[in-house]
């Protein structure tokens, strides 16, 4: 136990150092984001992530938003296990033919009003997978999309920025 405590104190808070450019940018985005979430979502924005056929690259970066460096929860956003509690669907793509029905059902299960953000080049345009027998292409081919976050994959800062843009 003493080792755990020691490691925790040694690590300290890694979230907020403002020295580098990246952190400054992160801080700026975060503060604005927090403000919007406080105003519009009563301090809590609940996100459900849906993988509609991505390569797992976008998922890793969405995961990274939760790590201690980006720590998106401090801005009032958190990820939920069920679409029924979600305000926002973060959908990565392209939409695989085999995932189309599941994606539609997830969308239908999310209570209105709801926001949908397409994440990654594949989610926005179909990317390198394009449109084929197995890939329907971009997310907006299947469900209505409010905003896009391009990138392959988008960095955690780009994701935070994109969510902010979609909210405001």
């Amino acid at each position: 136990m003493i080792r755990i405590l020691r490691q925790i104190f040694r690590t300290g808070v890694v979230t907020e150092p403002l020295q580098s450019d990246l952190d400054a940018e992160l801080w700026e985005v975060g503060t604005r984001l927090e403000e919007v979430i406080r105003k519009r979502f009563r301090r809590s924005l609940t996100i459900r992530q849906v993988d509609a056929g991505s390569c797992n690259g976008c998922e890793l970066e969405i995961h990274a938003m939760n790590n201690p460096i980006y720590n998106c929860e401090r801005f009032g956003m958190h990820f939920t296990a069920s679409p029924r509690f979600a305000d926002l669907l973060l959908v990565t793509g392209p939409v695989a033919h085999n995932m189309e029905i599941a994606l539609r059902r997830t969308y239908d299960a999310t209570p209105a009003p709801k926001l949908v953000i397409a994440v990654g080049d594949c989610g926005c345009t179909g990317g390198i997978f394009g449109q084929s027998y197995a890939s329907l292409g971009s997310i907006d081919k299947v469900i209505p999309v409010d905003a896009c976050i391009p990138g392959c994959p988008p960095t955690p800062t780009a994701l935070l920025n994109g969510i902010l843009k979609a909210l405001s």
């Binding site: 390569c55 797992n56 690259g57 998922e59 990274a64 599941a102 390198i128 449109q131 084929s132």
Partner: protein, 526 residues
């Protein structure tokens, strides 16, 4: 070192024709008659070989019908056995009774190419969903892949369990966490899992077919997106297979840089996995610590190589980014910091008894079973199978065994702890060899041009990604275009092992077992 080749020759003699068009020359490919395809498998089994992959190729463009390929591995040797199937009689003898992994490979061949494995115990489609039109065989040349597919009614025939107190838990395809989609169906009695059936294919994006419509160069981009977490290893495997066909040898420095990227990818993903395994045993402290270290690695990647996962930096003929003295120094400092923090965390992992209680003796894959299932990578090494392409099928600098002295951890307990511990050891080894790479990296060019491969030849490459061995097999068409690109992610063989490892465990331990395997959905579904 050609035990398998000799075994085939001793039984088949002159009848086994060796294909000169197979590259590199260290990997032999022989053609046997269709009636003796299963016999060849028996010979391989006797020679102690493992089945690495089995696939079909549409060779009608050459006027030949279809080819069924089975790739066997024993130690450092790979041998491909091919049989030809005429277009008017689309059947081949099943190998599923001799090699367990053929079970899914052949269902996939049946589903996507429409060639029937005779004697296969399971005729249900795999990856192809029941709502696809019955005659949709996307890998055939006659199939128009650009059009969307219609849906037809149909239902998957799940394995059922009945009896007093038996109940079913369906999970997915949309999971509770931030992970890829797939469906798992448990049959449980009380808390004990009595059967688990996975149904995958949800993220099938038609990758293998897509390769056929791309140029050789663009293929490398697609290979980097087969499984986003393994982008480096997939790109290397694709590029090496292509380079072997084109007769191109990248400069020494390019190989060393590839090795550096590969090991950085391994460290980043292993750190994530170790943290996630602990998190699934309710020890959240570790996931935050590990993801902090992981973030350090990927931000340095971004700074030095321009991409957090080093995507698209490996191209046919070499790499696109170099490293200078300042970059080397930065990585060395980073490795020192990583190593110090990592060792502290390993002690905590090791001493935490409540964690030990969860990870030990959970989700056991016995060495016998691992061998039967021909698993690869971390999963294999945690169950006593000493397999690692960095040792047995190395590219420079891994081929300099005396210089690197790479220590591959092999454990035999096959439980969650073993899989976590193999990862821990591998992180340590990767840190050590990254330091060596940086010290002794040769100077020179980082890329050379690659010519188009000649028509009707094939190329093979196996690379040890962080999950395990990744295999690419490429075939050029009559006009030197891509005729077929076969991708075998480690997940294609390892998923089945998870289904067996979880039997007899309690339902709440499934996430833990699953995390310790952490297989790719996208790499499997293609």
């Amino acid at each position: 070192m050609s035990m398998l080749k000799e075994a085939i020759i001793s039984v088949f003699g002159e009848e086994a024709r060796f294909d000169e068009g197979q590259h590199p020359v260290s990997v032999s490919s022989c053609v046997v008659k269709r009636g003796r395809f299963a016999e060849a498998a028996r010979v391989m089994k006797k020679a102690y070989a493992l089945l690495a992959a089995e696939w079909a190729a549409d060779e009608t463009a050459f006027g030949r019908g279809f080819g069924i390929y089975a790739c066997y591995r024993w130690g450092a040797e790979y041998l491909i056995v091919k049989t030809e199937v005429p277009s008017d009689d689309l059947r081949f003898p099943s190998l599923a009774k001799k090699f367990v992994p053929a079970f899914r490979f052949e269902r996939q061949i049946q589903s996507l190419m429409g060639i029937t494995p005779t004697g296969h115990p399971d005729t249900r489609p795999w990856i192809k969903f029941e709502d696809w039109p019955a005659d949709a065989w996307p890998l055939r040349k006659t199939f128009d892949a650009s059009k969307p597919m219609a849906r037809v009614p149909g239902e998957y025939a799940w394995v059922r369990a009945e009896g007093e107190g038996v109940y079913e838990i369906p999970v997915g395809p949309v999971h509770a966490g931030i992970i890829e989609p797939g469906h798992f169906r448990f049959q449980a009695l009380g808390e004990d899992v009595i059967n688990l059936e996975a149904r995958l294919g949800y993220v099938h994006k038609g990758i293998e077919k897509r390769f056929e419509s791309l140029s050789w160069k663009d293929g490398a981009l697609l290979a980097g997106r087969v499984s986003g977490d393994t982008t480096v290893a997939h790109s290397i495997a694709y590029c090496m297979a292509l380079e072997s066909m084109a007769g191109c040898s990248p400069p020494e420095r390019a190989y060393w840089l590839r090795a550096l990227f590969l090991e950085r990818e391994r460290i980043a993903n292993h750190l994530g996995d170790i943290g996630a395994i602990c998190n699934d045993a309710a020890f959240a402290f570790m996931i935050f610590q590990m993801s902090r270290l992981r973030e350090m690695i990927v931000s340095t990647n971004q700074k030095l190589f321009g991409h957090r996962f080093i995507m698209d930096r490996v191209v046919p003929g070499g790499v696109t980014v170099d490293i200078d003295a300042a970059g080397k120094k930065e990585i060395l400092t980073e490795m020192d910091m990583l190593s110090k923090d990592f060792e502290r965390l390993v002690v905590i992992y090791d001493e935490h008894s409540s964690l030990e209680d969860r990870v030990r003796d959970t989700g056991i894959l016995t060495p016998e079973r691992a061998r039967e299932l021909c698993v690869v990578g971390v999963v294999a090494r945690a169950s006593g199978l000493n397999l690692d392409c960095r040792i047995f099928n190395p590219f420079p600098p891994f081929d300099q065994h005396h210089y690197l002295e790479l220590d591959v951890p092999v454990l035999i307990s096959g439980d969650v702890h073993a899989r976590a511990w193999v990862r821990i050891q591998e992180v340590r080894e990767s840190i050590r060899i990254i330091r060596k790479f940086l010290e002794d990296m040769p100077e020179g060019e980082i890329a050379v041009p690659v010519a188009l491969p000649r028509p009707d030849i094939s190329g093979f490459a196996a690379v040890e990604g962080w999950r395990g061995e990744i295999i690419y097999w490429l075939q050029s068409g009559p006009h030197s275009e891509v005729n077929r690109c076969m991708v075998r992610d480690p997940s294609s063989v390892n998923w089945l092992a998870l289904e067996l490892a979880v039997l007899g465990n309690i339902v709440p331990d499934f996430p833990l077992c699953n995390k310790s395997f952490n297989q790719s959905y996208s790499g499997h579904d293609l």
